[in-house]
């Protein structure tokens, strides 16, 4: 096994024991990126010099006997939505293609405090709008399991990079499933924490009431370490929760005894790929064998989740993206009048899907339609939230499929936005309710394409997700399979 295929946890130990230096590890990882990026197009920026310098700094600290975090010296990459001071941050959009931030996101600052090594910025759907990573100004990302297929989106680059061992861990963002869905399609672990668990300060905003930072890891344990490093209240983010962060490592067990798991009938609909359903049902059986009690629950407002999401998210996005006007930063088109400048800058600077959603959102908020759309969607959102609240009275974790199908082909759904939107059908409710969700590998279809299992828990109960996911992972070998690149 190559060094870059080891887990974060394993590498952390090796670094600790000085079996390998960070500089060596980073060099190996950078080479791996160089060898594979042309084929995958996961990295839009490789920070080679900074990475080696950071690695050297960490080795020196370790040499001096300093106590270091588990992430110290580990090569990690970030979705190009995280503001990194002095390092171009584009959100994979033409409109920010020349934007160099003057400040770090809080998450980035915390990672620096943990002495991480940043190897680069990752490709994504423009402004986090997409489910296939085909909406990027820098071209589509390829799925490491089949280069003719999509990796999922919008954090396609983040998922694929971990899957292809181009980095030991990564971070993305999840607004409607953008961490969990690509995790399923790329056979990695992906977590969307509870809304408010991780600071949004310095993350380019798509939909303010739905966005959350989410880590990608090779294992559940790795993912927990990545969350631990960045979680916690931030005075710069008024929506971040003023609650203590548990020590997640304490919750890992090898069985699921004592857990009650709910299966929601609304999540086993027609239109799901048969093999996906098969793998998920097998996983549920496995979980039962691990000692969990399985019960039926109902989430009756599930069918309304997608329209509710596409009103709220696009409405908030239409407002959040108003600042990209060519006045202060980013792309500015040549024009003679103010109005012309606005129109050309935004017309030329934004891609099709972004413009589509801005228009949708503007309409949903407009005079005469606000009550019928935005306000109504907010009310339905409460009903969806209440569904989960009621279900969690009877169970600790809800298990569902993560994606209705395995990775589809590039170009297959790009001309049909509504079809594309349905890719998020299983993930979207968690964002609306604000609850945490974790996805991990649970099988492969005939073509060898990954299938993912989703676990959902009540607010701020990420430990339940880690408990069940770790036990399941330990009893299976899906996570050990790697793509042949």
């Amino acid at each position: 096994m190559s060094v870059y295929e080891l887990s974060l946890s394993e590498l952390s130990q090796k670094l600790s024991k000085k079996e390998i230096s960070s500089r060596e590890l980073t060099a190996i990882v950078l080479k791996r990126i160089q060898d594979t990026n042309a084929a995958l197009n996961t990295f839009v920026m490789i920070t080679e010099e900074e990475a080696l310098a950071d690695a050297k700094r960490v080795d020196e600290k370790r040499g001096r006997g300093e106590l270091l975090s588990p992430l110290a010296g580990i090569p990690i990459a970030l979705k190009d939505i995280f503001l990194t001071k002095g390092i171009k941050t584009t959100c994979c959009s033409k409109i920010l293609s020349n934007f160099v931030p003057p400040y770090d996101a809080t998450v980035v600052r915390r990672l620096k405090e943990n002495d991480y090594v940043l190897v680069g910025k990752l490709n994504m759907d423009e402004f986090a709008m997409g489910s296939s990573n085909e909406n990027s100004y820098y071209g589509a990302v390829k799925n490491p399991w089949d280069l003719e297929r999509i990796p999922g989106g919008s954090s396609g680059g983040s998922a694929a990079a971990v899957s292809a061992s181009q980095c030991i861990g990564s971070y993305g963002t999840d607004t409607g499933g953008s961490v969990r869905q690509p995790a399923a399609l790329c056979s990695v672990v992906g977590l969307k924490p509870t809304y408010g668990r991780v600071s949004r300060y310095g993350i380019i905003a798509f939909a303010s009431s739905l966005d959350q930072v989410g880590p990608f890891g090779k294992t559940v344990e790795d993912t927990a370490l990545l969350l631990q490093a960045v979680a916690g209240c931030d005075p710069l983010d008024s929506t971040s929760a003023n609650l203590p962060v548990p020590d997640y490592a304490k919750f890992f067990k090898n069985d699921a005894k004592g857990l009650t798991v709910g299966i929601a009938k609304e999540y086993f609909t027609e239109g799901m790929q048969k093999e996906v359903e098969r793998s998920v049902r097998d996983a549920i059986d496995q979980i039962k064998k691990l000692g969990a009690k399985i019960i039926d629950v109902s989430l009756p407002h599930t069918p309304y989740a997608i329209p509710t999401y596409y009103i709220i998210a696009t409405a908030e996005a239409s407002s959040n993206l108003a600042r990209y006007d060519g006045v202060k930063y980013g792309y500015r088109a040549k024009a003679e009048t103010l109005l012309e400048m606005y129109r050309k800058t935004r017309g030329e600077g934004f891609g099709k899907e972004v413009k589509r959603r801005i228009m949708l959102g503007t309409f949903a908020l407009s005079s005469g339609y606000y009550e019928a759309y935005y306000k109504k969607a907010g009310q339905v959102r409460t009903l969806i939230k209440n569904d989960f609240h009621d279900a969690f009275k009877k169970c600790d974790v809800i298990v569902t499929p993560a994606s209705p199908s395995t990775a589809f082909k590039l170009g297959e759904k790009i001309e049909d936005p509504l079809q594309m939107y349905l890719s998020d059908i299983f993930t979207i409710s968690a964002n609306l309710a604000g609850i945490p969700g974790l996805v991990l590998p649970c099988g492969f279809d005939r073509k060898g394409l990954p299938i993912g299992l989703q676990l959902l828990a009540p607010h701020f109960k990420e430990e339940s997700l880690f408990h069940l996911a770790h036990a399941y992972e330990k009893s299976t070998e899906w996570h050990l399979r790697k793509p042949a690149l």
């Binding site: 300060y201 303010s208 929506t239 407002s319 908020l365």
Partner: protein, 480 residues
Amino acid sequence: MKTPREDRFEAVIGLEVHAQLRTKSKIFCGCSTEFVSEENVHVCPVCAGLPGTLPVLNRKAVDFAMKMALAVHCQINETSIFARKNYFYPDLPKGYQISQYDKPLAEEGWVEIQTDHQSKKIRIQRVHMEEDAGKNVHGKRESYVNLNRAGIPLIEIVSYPDLATAEEASQYLKKLRSILRYTGVSDGNMEEGNLRCDVNVSLRQRADMKLGTRAEIKNINSFRFVEKAIDFEIQRQAEILEGGNQVIQETRLFDANRGETFSMRSKEEAHDYRYFPEPDLISLEIEKSWIEDLRSQLPELPDEKAKRFAAQYQLPQYDAALLVQEKELAEYYEEAASASHQPKLAGNWILTELLRVVSADQIETSPISSKHLGELIQLITSGVISGKIAKTVFEKMRISRQSPKIIVEKEGLRQVSDEGVVIKAVEKVLTERKGEVEKYRAGNEKLFGFFVGQIMKLTEGKANPALVNQILKKKLAEKK
């Protein structure tokens, strides 16, 4: 006397007033609010609207806003919500302004104004918080944006359309300004832009219950212009209605040079602000204890103070109202009243003499202290100097900033109240002016003043006037 036009129509006027709060930092970030002439000095990623930034509410701004809301008798909402007001303009970095829409900070208040010696209650619909925008600066061929002002906290005070004349509107605005300054919430300076006013004017037939179509007038930056704009607008609308036409609902600007309003944009071109609750801020929860704490911190407000002055110092209401305009002026008055033991005289001296020398809102810069003014008045009432000489002393006090006692001694301005000396002076004048004395006794009573003048001249103005009058009368009546 009403004109036929005034007989037929009545004006319905409402004011929307914006005031900058005197906090040290901006409303959603830690940047300074201090005025600085260099552009883009007090700017940070948050108020510049950089990608990824988020607002954090400045609690002090809420304190200030609540204080004003309480001072104008509003109900504070236990829960209030911030909202985004969306529109594109270069001085608005985020492409939206964080303001309040549904559930503002406070509602249903009032202030009292005085018009024609009558009190009128003007109801206030709401007081809410919002952030200020930056400033566009136009060059020859390019425009520039200065973001120093972006994010400065504002309160918006919206009245019901209870105002009926330009004068009432001006009084209402002045009252708000006074309260803003009393509570320390804002400097309330229209010329400096920390107090701004938009006016809504409509007309209706006197008997009508329904409101007429209104025009909104923006960009008025002085009290005088508020009155002028309203007067012009009333006439403009009346002419339209008299002609049998309809007033267009629109936004107009005031042209200060021509004293006219002109159309800026019509209802069709009006912005759709697409208000929705600000998702980056949680709702503002205000506990009763917070409200009561702030209420207890309110100073005695102008109306209360005026009532107390009228009662305590037996001042006419009109005088009391003038003396309480500015908190510092009111304080000065009370100090002078106390130092002189003559509250009425103190009032008169301030209103007629002092306010000619220093303006009401700059009383801290007065060359004459309240203590010294009090002393001066005491010198008059104790007969040391006459009222006329006192005016001279006052002028000397203004220049030298010395105490009146010192000036009177130094310049020998003591009043002559020695009867003997006055009798001698009266006799001297009457002896020298035998001709006029005869004319006086023949019936030309006006000459009395002439004699007084001569006596004053002789005594260098220092003779006690009352004594002079008394003795002169006696002497003139004597020699028959």
